[in-house]
Symmetry: C2
């Protein structure tokens, strides 16, 4: 038996999650049966999309049920195993949830090589966020060398990888971020332009730095940011709808993009995607991104928060306040101990 403190969804939030949303319960994970293994969770990925999983509505994944452990991608170490593919000591990622120990039959679990990158990077640039950036830009956005690319939430987990991929492809890249520090970081990463959306009029700033308009707009934010992008499309532009973090905690359906008819004038498209449909492309994406990390083309950055599962609630709130640069992960245990 493996003791585990699990973060349980106690109550669906209205607006921002709060103390009443979560409950930390002591549970125990059984020893593995044949074909199973037990992991100790090292890091939990804290994702903007998590808020959507708390609503009792149809979406791209089932809602988390009341009383269930919060769904989360995690990096973990196998501590007991009766599964040949996952021997004790191997490091893995999987949807283990916000917990200390979990049991698995290996479904959806990937072995990771911590010589290529540390575990947190396997939740970021080499994980779902990196896959999302790669598939979104190249497949959904059909990005070509030399195009002008706009990325919102560009200092976030997905945006920072997307912008660097676009630079690696020889594009002109404009990033939007919410602090001067993040703006500076984007420039350090090689972004051609970075706009602080809290202190500048984004639409006007875009006209200045991308007077010919934007060919691909990778949008993670929605709201006014999406409208500013719509107002600055090049002909034939592709908007990649990756998320709408500006509205995830809204209690009412927020206004839609008023400038959507720019799609007609610009002969442009706006396309949504869900990364889990593209698993057959993950191997290629991982190989490419790992190569860019190895040769220094791409900087993988994580903001690692300490505090174990008890800190999950406040860490998720910090995400929506923009506290992270790069991928936000919660450290559940010190895997070096």
């Amino acid at each position: 038996m493996w003791p585990s403190r699990d973060v349980i969804l106690r109550e669906r939030p209205s607006g921002l999650p709060d103390a009443s949303t979560w409950e930390v319960l002591d549970r125990s994970v059984p020893d593995p049966a044949p074909g199973q293994f037990v992991v100790a969770v090292d890091y939990v990925s804290v994702d903007p999309g998590m808020r959507g999983w708390l609503n009792d509505v149809r979406s791209y994944l089932e809602p988390v049920a009341i009383g269930d452990a919060m769904r989360a991608n995690a990096a973990a170490t196998v501590v007991a195993s009766r599964h040949d593919g996952f021997p004790v000591g191997s490091t893995v990622t999987g949807m283990f949830g916000v917990c200390e120990h979990a049991i698995s039959d290996g479904q959806g679990v990937r072995l990771i090589d911590t010589r290529t990158a540390e575990s947190p990077t396997w939740l970021g640039a080499l994980g779902i966020p990196g896959m999302t950036a790669y598939v979104g830009l190249l497949r959904i956005g059909r990005l070509s060398a030399g195009e002008t690319v706009l990325i919102s939430a560009a200092a976030g987990a997905v945006g920072s990888v997307a912008g660097q991929i676009a630079k690696a492809m020889g594009c002109t890249v404009v990033g939007l971020a919410g602090t001067e520090e993040k703006r500076q970081w984007l420039l350090d990463l090689g972004f051609d332009h970075a706009i602080d959306y809290r202190s500048e009029n984004v639409s006007r700033a875009l006209r200045g730095v991308a007077p010919q308009g934007v060919d691909v707009f990778f949008d993670n934010v929605g709201g006014e940011i999406l409208d500013a992008g719509l107002a600055n499309l090049a002909r034939g532009a592709r908007i990649v709808l990756c998320g709408a973090v500006s509205s995830y905690n809204s209690t009412t359906l927020p206004p839609g993009p008023r400038r959507y008819m720019s799609l007609l004038v610009a002969r442009a498209s706006m396309t949504g995607f869900v990364i889990f449909d593209h698993e057959d492309e993950f191997a290629e994406a991982e190989r490419e991104i790992a190569g860019w990390i190895a040769d220094g083309t791409l900087v993988a950055r994580e903001t690692v928060v300490d505090g174990g599962v008890d800190a999950f609630g406040q860490t998720l709130l910090a995400l929506y306040q923009g506290a992270n640069t790069g991928k936000l992960v919660l450290q559940v245990r010190d895997s070096t101990s």
Copy 2:
């Protein structure tokens, strides 16, 4: 010299055009120089998109200039010619404007065969509206046999052709229209379902008739109709943005589609297009549509308004009030006289 009464843009309207928008001026058209010809205009096409041409803003065409004759597609008869391609007596379509006579060098002018169909049809099902329906559904919407198609403004010039093309392709077709009479007409045309958007909750009605969701939504309307479609998308749906007639006369930018994030959940796209980019496909579209008209698969219908160029202003208003079924044309002269 050929006397012509021309409808001139006197003043840009705010909201609906009114009496101060237009002025009818007596002008005269010179005799043709070598390579030119003069036409007498028989019918003028009255289009929803005309309202956009009156605004002094960047769009897919230049605004009509104050003091210029109103831009319009028209069917006309050559009455004087020094151009071998357009002998006297030939019937043509071209952007001659709202006027009685016009001079041309043949640029953008097409010879039409009134044995295939009467002149008004060459402004409708065999004209730009028909091309728009064909290109929009097949190229932009990538329609496949057996899919479920939603058409807004389905009793209009473009919508009525689009719906019949979709039926010809073996699709299930749902049309939206604003009166019981139009709704009945759509059913007569072979639409599987027709919804009166003024008397029904469109989103709920769609759930009833297309419980699996809509694969292609050909939208001419925007506003709440677009949101109702967004709420009922099948996975992988394509929204073809053809127009937004609900907002053409708005004095402020109307609200955007609040349910746009359905594009993400449904892995769907929304794509704008401008028919004038697709002229290389017109010959194929015309041949196909003419074939469907000839074998009775497709009914071409026009609402012909009498009254000459003086009636243009009120006819355009009638269009926005939904007075027409099928293509709305203004008769400028009796071509049989």
